[in-house]
């Protein structure tokens, strides 16, 4: 078992490094890895340093954060198909950004992050509130309530943009992607990742125990609600940060933890590291594809990952037909 786990880690690390390097190399013009290591001083070096490096870093960070946010959500809701995007976090953040646009707030990364965070937090609180019953969080209610509520938020966001004639902005907001990422965003993402990691190390046992049913977890001495609230804050922080930097990128949060679950099981403590690595690797490959498939234009990463994610979910359900019980 230990050997197997180590092998998985090794593969994931190699994938992550490969993804990172390929992301650095790809762009409107392909630089060979050697060029990346020893660029000609001047424009080439500056391109790598000021355009590609922050972008590659951001894609790794966003991938890791979305994936771990998804896993946290799946753990606290005990539902394998929970995804921050399904739970209204993204649509809440989007609505806030639309409102910000309408109000004409200048979109510094901090302002974006603040707006996204507030929107995501409010939306998530509503969905969480809807899913709570006397006996704790009901997974199915969480998913369905979330889907419905985020549909509602999308409606409101569109109504707002329709009435204020800002449909063009609404449209560009829909598309997730990393063009124009700066070091400001990278620092923000890194800070979030640091917070999330520290919190996860602190909470790892409590989170692992949440995979048991409520009564059992309680009897083991876990502070279920406290843990859930903390985890929720982490989710909103991570998802909000990602929306602020990269817009909507569907299904990293759902697909990556599920991939890992198929390989390594559902236990939180044992798999969270793998989820982080895999998320980072996936998105750095995905972004490399988005920016180099049809150079010099950018493919919409948000749509790409939704399609990949949808297909993936299909395959996952297909495989797991018998074993799906919540």
């Amino acid at each position: 078992m230990i050997k197997r786990t180590q092998r998985i880690y090794l593969v994931l690390i190699v994938l992550l490094i490969a993804g990172f390097i390929i992301n650095l190399c790809s762009g409107p013009t392909w630089f060979s890895p050697l060029t990346v290591l020893h660029p000609q001083p001047g424009l080439q070096a500056q391109t790598i340093l000021s355009v590609r490096l922050p972008r590659a870093l951001a894609s790794v960070l966003v991938g890791a954060e979305l994936a771990v946010a998804g896993q946290l959500l799946q753990t606290i809701s005990r539902n394998p198909i929970a995804d921050p995007a399904i739970l209204g976090v993204n649509s809440g953040a989007n609505l806030a950004l639309i409102v910000g646009t309408v109000l004409g707030i200048p979109f510094t990364i901090r302002a974006r992050f603040g707006l996204a965070l507030v929107g995501a937090l409010l939306a998530f609180c509503v969905v969480l509130g809807l899913s709570l019953t006397r006996n704790g969080m009901q997974p199915l209610r969480l998913i369905l309530g979330g889907s419905i509520f985020s549909g509602f938020l999308v409606s409101v966001a569109y109504a707002v943009s329709l009435l204020t004639q800002t449909t063009a902005q609404y449209r560009t907001l829909l598309v997730g992607g990393f063009s124009g990422v700066t070091y400001d965003s990278v620092w923000l993402l890194a800070l979030i990742l640091l917070i999330v990691l520290l919190a996860i190390v602190y909470l790892r046992n409590s989170l692992t125990i949440l995979t048991l049913n409520d009564q059992l977890a309680q009897s083991l001495g876990s502070k279920r609600n406290g843990t859930r609230v903390l985890a929720s804050i982490l989710i909103v922080l991570a998802a909000g940060g990602c929306v602020a930097v990269a817009g909507n990128i569907a299904f990293v949060g759902l697909g990556i933890p599920q991939c890992i679950a198929i390989i390594s099981g559902h236990r939180f403590k044992q798999t969270v590291g793998q989820v982080l690595l895999a998320g980072g690797a996936f998105l750095s490959f995905g972004d490399a594809l988005a920016k180099s498939a049809r150079p010099p234009f950018e493919l919409p990463l948000g749509a790409l990952s939704a399609i990949l994610g949808g297909i993936f979910l299909f395959a996952f359900l297909w495989r797991k037909q018998g074993a799906l019980t919540t």
Partner: protein, 333 residues
């Protein structure tokens, strides 16, 4: 329950009549009773004729068609998935129908020999079938939860594709697409309405037949099978009907979500879980919801209008929240 069924039916019928009267008389142009009478007796002014016969009545007719289709389709989905929160928008059916419509609009530039009046409903229904293809690939519909998850998966996938098309095919209007996705009565020609109405008239008796004794499904698959119901077949038929009804509704009014969710919910709360009672009421409430949303959509920001689907989403949300909170005490959803 029978009593309350009769009472609520009467009340909602009255509400319907009230809404129709309001809709007929109000708008940018005010029509009096005499105007309306004159139009119906064939002596109306040209303007009153136009307003009544070309704008207001078609809208009401479409509201009725979409309301009935969406309400019943939602009720069927909730029955088959054994989940009171299922809805056409969750099951990927709306996304499929929208995709069908989007594809049709995209290829309509290629001069295909299909008029929009016929082509669009066909594509929307085909799309909804694609969206619900899971239902047909997935032969063993043993676990309702699986069905639900597959629905969500296909919805996400299709929405991703719609997004991609939205962003890639610049030559046609983003705004036009989003009207589809948020729901609006975009074509109010009588010929179009006749096609939809005809289709509904064909589907309704089939639906009635399909839903007869469907209460037995609420007992669970094993018990239903024990009572002599061919469960798998019944579920397939019902799902197919739900998909066709939803496709029809999307062709008429775009992807209006929430009606399919809310109408059966309200109906069941009012008259209980007996299909004989709540299903007819569901259709009636569906019609009322859409009609009310249409009235609001037209008048609240007049002369600007909102898509009907958006208004439905916004006005039913408080009730939805109330519903979830109210049910918080009970074990089930």
């Amino acid at each position: 329950m029978k009593r309350s069924f009769q009472i609520w039916c009467t009340l909602f019928s009255l509400l319907f009549v009230g809404l129709v009267i309001f809709q007929l008389t109000h708008g940018s142009i005010h029509l009096s009773w005499t105007d309306i009478r004159q139009v119906f007796s064939g002596h109306g002014s040209a303007q009153a004729d136009l307003v009544l016969l070309q704008f207001r009545l078609p809208q009401i007719a479409l509201s009725v068609i979409c309301g009935v289709c969406l309400g019943l389709s939602g009720a069927i989905l909730q029955l088959v998935t054994e989940n009171p929160l299922a809805d056409t928008s969750i099951m990927g059916i709306n996304a499929g129908a929208s995709l069908g419509a989007v594809v049709f609009l995209a290829i309509s530039h290629l001069n295909i020999p299909l008029s929009q009046t016929v082509g669009l409903p066909i594509f929307a229904v085909l799309g909804s079938l694609v969206g619900a293809c899971i239902v047909f690939i997935q032969r063993r519909l043993q676990q309702p939860l699986q069905l639900l998850l597959l629905g969500i998966a296909s919805g996400t996938l299709l929405n991703g594709i719609i997004l991609l098309i939205e962003l890639q095919l610049d030559q046609f209007d983003f705004d036009k697409l989003i009207v589809w996705i948020s729901g609006d009565f975009w074509n109010q020609d009588w010929s179009y309405i006749a096609v939809l109405g005809g289709a509904l008239l064909i589907l309704l008796p089939l639906t009635l037949r399909g839903l007869w004794a469907s209460d037995i499904l609420t007992l669970g698959q094993q018990a239903a099978s024990g009572l002599g119901l061919a469960v798998a077949g019944k579920r397939q038929v019902l799902l197919l009907l739900a998909v066709l009804l939803a496709g029809l509704a999307v062709a008429g009014g775009g992807a209006i979500s929430f009606v399919g969710l809310m109408a059966p919910h309200i109906a069941r709360r009012l008259v209980g879980n007996h299909g004989r009672h709540y299903l007819p009421l569901t259709a009636l409430i569906g019609v009322n919801l859409i009609l009310f949303a249409a009235v609001v959509a037209e008048n609240i920001f007049a002369p600007s209008q909102l898509p009907v689907g958006l208004v439905v989403a916004v006005i039913t949300m408080p009730y939805f929240v109330y519903l979830l909170l109210h049910q918080a005490d009970q074990e089930s959803i």
